[in-house]
């Protein structure tokens, strides 16, 4: 085909306006929410003491840190959706959820506790946590990777990993409604491990599907 002919067809297609990537990502995550929620309803109940747990700052903190992780990862993945963009200027944002966890752990040691710190770290549901968060994250991860394809990243593996962290953050927030372990030590260990797992999956899928 002659290049001039191709250009003519591109100009003819110019009125097709493309929506920004963030809009697609947001729509995709919202579409995945009922699916993740349905998986949750089928496998777990909300914790029985939910009504009183919301007054426990360590319970509330789990949602804060998971949603901050999801937001930061979403923002960074959108930033990297422009060709040639790098994490140089904004990568430090990933330290925000980690820093929040650090502060919460200090607070955890500062207040009187019934259980030893090792018991709080090991908790009562580590395996359930490790298995459920990735499970709840899957619909979000699929939606994030699918919609981020509309961007043009030159860092497909990194954006895939960020999509994984974003999905794990959202999956973790859903799991937190069930999870009886509120200690930040537990969150820092098991929620983080689960998030790393999803990030690794996201990185490898992203490397394949996010090329443009």
């Amino acid at each position: 085909m002659k290049t001039d002919d191709l250009i003519a067809s591109l100009v003819a297609d110019h009125p097709s306006r493309m929506q920004p990537v963030w809009l697609w990502l947001l729509a995709g995550l919202f579409a995945a929410l009922p699916l993740s929620a349905a998986i949750f309803m089928m496998s777990f109940r909300m914790r029985p003491d939910l009504a009183s747990a919301i007054y426990n700052p360590f319970f509330d903190f789990k949602f804060v840190v998971m949603l901050v992780l999801a937001s930061v990862s979403a923002a960074l993945s959108l930033h990297l959706s422009r060709p040639g963009a790098s994490l140089e200027r904004w990568g430090w944002l990933l330290a925000v959820p980690a820093g929040l966890l650090g502060i919460a752990i200090v607070a955890d040691f500062a207040v009187p506790q019934r259980n030893s710190w090792t018991a709080r770290l090991v908790g009562s549901s580590a395996m359930a946590c490790m298995a459920s968060i990735p499970l709840f994250a899957v619909p979000f991860l699929a939606a994030a990777l699918w919609t981020l394809r509309r961007g043009a990243t030159t860092r497909p593996m990194l954006v895939g990993a960020l999509a994984g962290l974003m999905s794990a953050g959202l999956g973790g927030a859903i799991y937190a409604v069930h999870c009886m372990d509120d200690s930040p030590l537990f969150v820092a260990t098991w929620y983080t491990l689960a998030a790393v797992l999803v990030a690794i999956v996201g990185a490898f899928v992203g490397r394949r599907v996010l090329r443009f």
């Binding site: 085909m1 002659k2 290049t3 001039d4 002919d5 191709l6 250009i7 003519a8 067809s9 591109l10 100009v11 003819a12 297609d13 110019h14 009125p15 097709s16 306006r17 493309m18 929506q19 920004p20 990537v21 959706s81 422009r82 060709p83 040639g84 509309r150 961007g151 043009a152 030159t154 394949r208 090329r211 443009f212």
Partner: protein
């Protein structure tokens, strides 16, 4: 930054505002530069510059389909050269080499020193034949036969909206096929 690059940025801004003529001018203006840098990149990698037109067409498709990822506050040229570099690396990788491409190959926006003759792209033409019939017919009518959207709609007794959708999907599948060859 050269005046040419400022001109590209202005053209792309006008294009984003809906000016199709500006878009045509922009694509025509960047093509010789893309052609020269593709040839240079192939030669540096010890490859024949024959396939440079395929790289040019791949790059133009990507520019078109990803133009919403250009930040209108930023200059256009660095965005363009990142995409062009990406497409050159893809083309070289398709031939089974691990490559490192120097970004400097692209930052020189003078049209090619030896002003290469435009050749025909082979890949896009081959991929075109593999498209679903409706997308292929519409693309062929608009690209090769030079028909407008409304003329194409009349020719195939389709609605104009349907022609537009088929055109856009056709272009997106052309880009997708070039990518699939990689994996």
């Amino acid at each position: 930054m050269s005046g040419q690059e400022h001109e590209w940025t202005d053209l792309m801004r006008s294009a984003n505002a809906g000016d199709a003529a500006a878009y045509h001018r922009l694509l025509s203006a960047i093509t010789p530069v893309l052609r020269a840098s593709a040839r240079r990149g192939l030669l540096r990698a010890g490859q024949s510059p024959d396939q440079s037109e395929d790289i040019v067409q791949d790059t133009l498709l990507a520019v078109h389909l990803k133009r919403h990822t250009w930040d209108p506050k930023a200059p256009f040229a660095p965005w363009l050269f990142t995409i062009a570099r990406n497409k050159l690396i893809d083309a070289l990788r398709r031939r089974g080499r691990r490559v490192f491409v120097d970004i400097d190959d692209f930052t020189d926006v003078l049209p090619g020193e030896d002003a290469p003759e435009p050749a025909n792209g082979v890949d896009v033409a081959a991929h075109l034949q593999l498209l679903p019939p409706r997308q292929r017919d519409v693309l062929q009518a608009i690209a090769v036969d030079g028909l407008s959207i409304s003329e194409t709609a009349q020719k195939f007794t389709m609605k104009e909206g349907t022609v537009r959708v088929a055109l856009h999907r056709g272009l997106a599948s052309l880009a997708a096929r070039a990518r699939e060859e990689l994996s």
